[in-house]
């Protein structure tokens, strides 16, 4: 994913999040074990932290700069 | 008219409170509801606090930034000089540190006086002075006002000292720093005002369901604590950012003065855990205001939930209170015994260890509250585990003192007093953390004695040591040694009288937060002794204040490195500390911070030839 341009990366991440949300909804209305819902929520959370919130920028401050 | 910041702030707060109360009255009138005081004072208090911040000028620069305008760099803001700078909005961390100190001491006096009042009531059996609600209000406020005082006190020490110790120009976020101080002023006023809205009956822990039903003074208590909590969170955020990013070149984390480590550990707890006490208080506020039944069992709520949320902060809070104090002890001890701090890395890590273990122990306050049986033993073990890192600190101090060339000026006396009193607090702790003994000791005066030991040993003694030690850095003058010694030798035995008395009657069955007791229990004489001990402590504190104020003008002049310390604020800077800490001075970290007695070794050294380069720039 690092090779993609930032705009395209945003689209890809968004699509993955959308698909995960759809799966989550489907599982949720069909009474599956809660652990699956937690797993999906945590994957979504990590995706947002990594690609939208750029958590690396604060962990590796030397990289500096925007984008 | 040029009013100083604080006066303007308080005027704004008064007006804001009435506006807020009026708005709530207006909203309710529009909805066709009659006037009700409780929601009105809550909104009034909140609006008043914000109005205070507007009045003091805390939002001015942020407003400009929000509109995209340039603001002056904090380091280039020319502040006022002289005494008046302490009464207005200043961005200098040294000024803010002293402002915190003043607020802490004011709250210390207020909170202490509350105790003096209810101690008179307790000095003999029967009711003489107070009714039950008044007594409970005083006890609860004594606790919370002094907690606020302690939070302000540690903020004072960390704000003033940490940037100087790590060679920073200021804190990471100077405006946020000033904000977190000033928000605590209206918060303290709101907290104290709970007395005038009917008081409250719950003590400082504010357990529901009593806090859901009692008089509405509890709302002001909640609001005040909530805002003080925010002050503490933002202050902690600032300190973590400062310590992690603003250290001078060459000062690795393990070359920092040890006090910075303990402040880092403390700040991690107050940054995160404080949210939980804020949340728990907010939930009770909402339950009272909107009938949201979080804690009423008949409506599906559960009061134990409150205790979980509350103690998740309020136990680690104990470590927030004591860690900076223990850091002060580790910082000052090597200076006065002229020996390296024993096991520097272990001491640094023990602060972190206490902070992290502290998150896992909250349940030990709830052994008798009806929590699940299977939770008791794990919480007992995690609680006793705290003794391990704390023990590391004690062994380090003992080994540091061992064969040292001790000097005994007043700061050293308070350091030693702190060690002994905190040791007593530490030894009286495990019986409370062990389930079988806690079932007997819970909610007795033994607990009161125990935590007064930890608070005195972990905060009161160290902060006095810190004040006597860094006072010359602030004023350029020393505090009187004679008066300091009177203060110490009066306070310490009086304190032991008080705390041993408390623990004795506690073991015999005296309950906490009770205005009266049966004369047949035979507590009257010990209770009288406790009261006398309390008053003697108050007198010794008066001596301290006299010393503090008089020495500012008449103290013996002390501009150099009077304690022979290796740390940069004494070794490099003159006293009083210059306005721009190390501006134009470059120093390198060339050694270990505590190698006292090692001939020829240095911790910091002025960089050569830097001055010319600065000028040609």
């Amino acid at each position: 994913m690092t090779k993609l341009s930032p705009l395209k990366r945003g689209v890809v991440v968004f699509l993955i999040l959308g698909v995960l949300t759809a799966i989550e909804y489907y599982l949720g209305v069909n009474d599956v074990p809660t652990i699956l819902l937690w797993a999906i929520a945590i994957i979504k959370l990590l995706l947002v932290l990594q690609y939208f919130m750029h958590i690396n920028r604060v962990i590796n401050p030397n990289k500096g700069g925007h984008e | 008219m040029n009013l100083s910041g604080i006066v303007k702030g308080i005027l704004f707060q008064i007006v804001g409170s009435f506006i807020g109360a009026g708005i709530m009255g207006g909203i309710r009138a529009l909805m066709g509801l009659p006037w009700k005081t409780e929601p009105a004072i809550v909104l009034g208090g909140l609006v008043g606090a914000i109005a205070f911040m507007v009045g003091v000028g805390a939002f001015k620069d942020w407003w400009k930034m929000a509109l995209g305008e340039e603001v002056t760099e904090a380091s280039e803001v020319v502040g006022k000089q002289g005494l008046s700078r302490y009464f207005g909005f200043s961005l200098d961390h040294k000024v803010i540190g002293i402002q915190y100190g003043i607020l802490s001491m004011v709250l210390l006096v207020l909170g202490g006086s509350l105790a003096l009042i209810f101690r008179v009531e307790l000095a003999q059996s029967g009711l003489q002075l107070l009714n039950f609600v008044q007594f409970n209000t005083l006890v609860g406020l004594h606790g919370m006002v002094l907690i606020a005082s302690i939070l302000m006190g540690i903020a004072a020490m960390s704000n003033y000292v940490v940037p100087l110790l790590i060679g920073a120009e200021d804190m990471a976020f100077p405006r946020l720093n000033a904000f977190s101080f000033w928000i605590a002023v209206p918060a303290s006023i709101i907290l104290m005002s709970s007395m005038f809205f009917g008081g409250f009956e719950t003590g400082w822990t504010a357990y529901p369901p009593l806090s859901v039903r009692g008089p509405m003074g509890i709302q002001m208590f909640f609001l005040g604590v909530f805002i003080v909590g925010y002050s503490s969170i933002l202050g902690a955020l600032n300190l973590i950012a400062t310590i992690l990013t603003m250290r001078t070149k060459g000062m690795g984390l393990f070359k920092m003065p040890i006090f910075a480590w303990s402040v880092l550990a403390t700040s991690i707890i107050s940054l995160t855990a404080t949210q939980l006490i804020g949340l728990s208080f907010q939930l009770v506020m909402f339950e009272r205001l909107f009938g949201m039944s979080f804690f009423t069992p008949s409506d599906g709520g559960n009061p134990i939930l409150f205790q979980h949320l509350f103690w998740f902060y309020s136990h680690p809070a104990v470590y927030i209170f004591v860690l900076p104090g223990l850091g002060i002890i580790s910082e000052l001890l090597p200076v006065f015994v002229r020996k390296p701090l024993f096991g520097y890395k272990w001491v640094a890590m023990s602060s972190m260890g206490i902070a992290l273990t502290g998150f896992l122990v909250w349940g030990h306050h709830m052994f008798t509250a009806g929590i699940e049986e299977y939770l008791r033993v794990p919480f007992m073990y995690s609680t006793l585990l705290v003794a391990v890192p704390t023990g590391v600190k004690f062994f380090s101090w003992v080994a540091t003192i061992w064969q040292g060339k001790a000097r005994f000026p007043v700061p050293m006396l308070f350091v030693l007093g702190g060690i002994i009193v905190f040791l007593l607090g530490g030894l009286t702790g495990p019986p409370n953390g062990t389930v079988s003994t806690d079932l007997h000791l819970h909610d007795t005066y033994y607990i009161v004695g125990h935590f007064h030991n930890t608070m005195f040993g972990g905060f009161i003694f160290p902060i006095f040591a810190a004040i006597y030690y860094w006072y010359p850095k602030i004023t350029g003058r020393r505090m009187s040694e004679t008066l300091g010694k009177i203060h110490f030798y009066l306070m310490t035995p009086s304190f032991f009288l008080m705390t041993f008395g408390q623990m004795r009657i506690g073991l015999l069955g005296m309950r906490r937060r009770i205005a009266d007791y049966d004369p047949a229990m035979g507590f009257d004489f010990t209770q009288l002794l406790i009261t006398i001990g309390g008053y003697l402590i108050a007198i010794s504190i008066l001596v301290f204040f006299y010393n503090l104020i008089v020495s500012a003008k008449k103290g013996e002049s002390a501009t150099g490195n009077i304690w022979n310390s290796r740390s940069p604020e004494w070794d490099i800077l003159p006293s009083p500390a210059p306005v721009h800490n190390y501006a134009g001075i470059h120093f390198n970290v060339v050694g270990e911070p505590y190698d006292y007695g090692l001939i020829g070794s240095k911790y910091v050294e002025l960089a050569q030839g830097i001055h010319q380069r600065e000028e040609s720039d």
Binding site: D31, A41, L49, F52 | L276, D299
Partner: protein, 189 residues
Amino acid sequence: MSSINNAIVSYQQKLAINRLGLWLFFASDAFMFGGLLVARFYLLGNKNLNLDQTLGLLVTSILLISSFFMNRAEVMVSEGNHKGFITSLVITILLGISFLVGVVGLEWGSAHFGPGDGAEGAVFYMMTGMHAFHVLTGIIFLSLVLRNGLNKKYTPEKHYAVEASANYWHFVDVVWIIYYPVLYLMGTI
């Protein structure tokens, strides 16, 4: 020459400090949201709140799409695409407002309990209310960024305010990523 270099270095340094401060704030705020999560499971356990699933999915999608446009806005300002930045930002704000209307206007109006109706009501209104409060503040921050953006205050090199409010917006989204399954999907009725 060296003073220009110094200015760049000091901007970089400040950027790093500001980012750290913002993330520390997130860490702190996350504990508060975590506390509410604890309250939900402590009081309600494995109980489903029986809410309107269509509305839940709708508001969740709206917030997710707004997060996507927020990311585009931030990328575009760093690429110097002023027009795209403003457009994406406006879409983000509008979606944020529709989320608020969806939760506070529709969901609160149509839920089968009020805030005073037992633990379910208390937990649901507290959690959605606290989240909505954060959305509201996010919208305020974004509106200020929009105002300054229209005045061309941001350059591809210096736009920390955009980055910070974008991060805040994503943080609010992250909270909802957890709250959505917890409030709508988990448990049995």
